[in-house]
Amino acid sequence: MLDGIDLRIGAGVTGLLGPSGSGKTTLLRAIVGVQRTHGGTVTVLGSPAGAKALRSRIGYVTQAASVYDDLTLTENLRFFARVLGVGPDEVERVVRAVDLGGHRDHVVGRMSGGQRSRASLAVALLGSPAVLVLDEPTVGLDPVLRRDLWALFHRLADDGAVVLVSSHVMDEADRCDQLLLMRAGAIIADGTPAEIRAGAGADDIETAFLRLVER
């Protein structure tokens, strides 16, 4: 499915952009270590992906909100905090980080789509993991909220975390420090947004993407 991908992802916010079906989720799952791979190596923080030592150091948000719909936000977070072995004060911190302070005791299943995906994001923030892998965390969100979340990703990166965010919305390219453009299972460009635009001779990433594909 994914062929000939050879890349390094460093500090800062890296955006993985590509249309749906291009293999973004498969690549992210391989990095988290939940994807069955056939050959190739994925190394995260010096250990092979999926290694036991990494399990408390990677925060992973799947595309669909993976939280328990029949529990409240606090109940969800308390459970995952116990599994991760982090203190209950972390729960309060991540609730504030995703701006769901007013929804602590709401059952997640009755929240809006955007609130549910933020609840799922909150779980990934527990324990301040060194690597955050976020699969389309901003889809369908209010522009104000989207801006706030990107600001949050940059704050986390400034604190030293590696943040890898996927999106199929090309407009989000300029919010990233580094970009990976993906299409049909291959990385077609890798660099800062400015480098990719200049390399393709385009004014925006959408046009750059088209030029790179048609080359």
């Binding site: 988290v32 270590g33 069955r36 992973y60 799947t62 939280v67 719909d69 529990l71 599994v83 991760l84």
Partner: protein, 246 residues
């Protein structure tokens, strides 16, 4: 394995069930209604030993087994399809922690269900048994067996429809050859041998030993077999939980 994590899973499962009071009510009320129905069916049947005393204990073994099998397989499957299982397996949670947490939570629910069903059968409907306490202990063990089988089977189901189909496929045959319809000693040789390796046979045998007129000496051995199967199925279930999936 970490007890704190096992406990966290158990608490979380119970919190989820608490949000669903209708399921909780049905879990407790339905077995009692069925026992009352059985008592009513047999009320006017003449005989030296009441047929209710003969078949009732066997059904007290079968109900918790079947109900917990269904509840567990659907709940676990939901955990798989919602993505929370994938998230948990990417976290520092042992696979056995997860399964034991489930076993603990559903075991507790099963205990509540069995206490009520046994109390209604023995004290309200007048079922005669050697020991109501042993009857209760067996019923809880059977429920845990149902939970373990449900956890194991859910690994082979991809949809909730498939999970429910495992009930006629794996549970009904056990009910047919467990001795409820034809005493196991009178089954054709092959079927008798098959019934010898099915756990529900031992669950029902134990209940038979507890009926008045039988001897209660074999109960401990039967209980041992049922618990052994429950543990083995939990371990097999842990082996089917894969951290890496296609």
């Amino acid at each position: 394995m970490r007890p704190a994590r096992t406990l966290a899973v158990a608490v979380r499962v119970l919190q989820q069930v608490r949000r669903d009071p209708r399921t909780l009510a049905m879990l407790v009320v339905v077995p009692c209604v069925l026992m009352a129905l059985l008592w009513w069916m047999y009320r006017d049947v003449p005989g030296p030993v009441s047929p209710f005393d003969r078949s009732g204990p066997a059904l007290l073994a079968i109900f918790p087994f079947v109900v917990m099998f269904l509840v567990t397989s659907v709940t676990t499957l939901r955990e798989r399809s919602s993505g929370t299982l994938e998230r948990l397996l990417a976290m520092p949670l042992g696979r056995l922690d997860l399964l034991l947490g489930y076993g603990l939570a559903f075991g507790l629910l099963a205990a509540i269900q069995s206490v009520v069903a046994v109390a209604v059968s023995v004290w309200l409907l007048g079922m005669h048994v050697h020991s109501a306490w042993l009857l209760l202990l067996m019923a809880v063990a059977d429920a845990v067996l149902g939970t373990s089988l449900g956890l194991f089977v859910s690994a082979f189901a991809h949809t909730e429809f498939q999970a429910v189909q495992f009930m006629p496929a794996l549970v009904v045959p056990q009910i047919l050859v467990c001795g409820l319809f034809v005493p196991r000693a009178q089954l054709p040789g092959v079927l008798h041998a098959i019934s010898d390796v099915l756990p529900l046979s031992y669950a029902v045998d134990a209940m038979r030993h507890l009926t008045v007129g039988a001897t209660s000496t074999g109960v401990a051995g039967d209980l041992g077999v049922v618990v052994g199967y429950a543990v083995a199925l939990l371990v097999l279930g842990a082996a089917t939980l894969r951290r890496r999936t296609p």
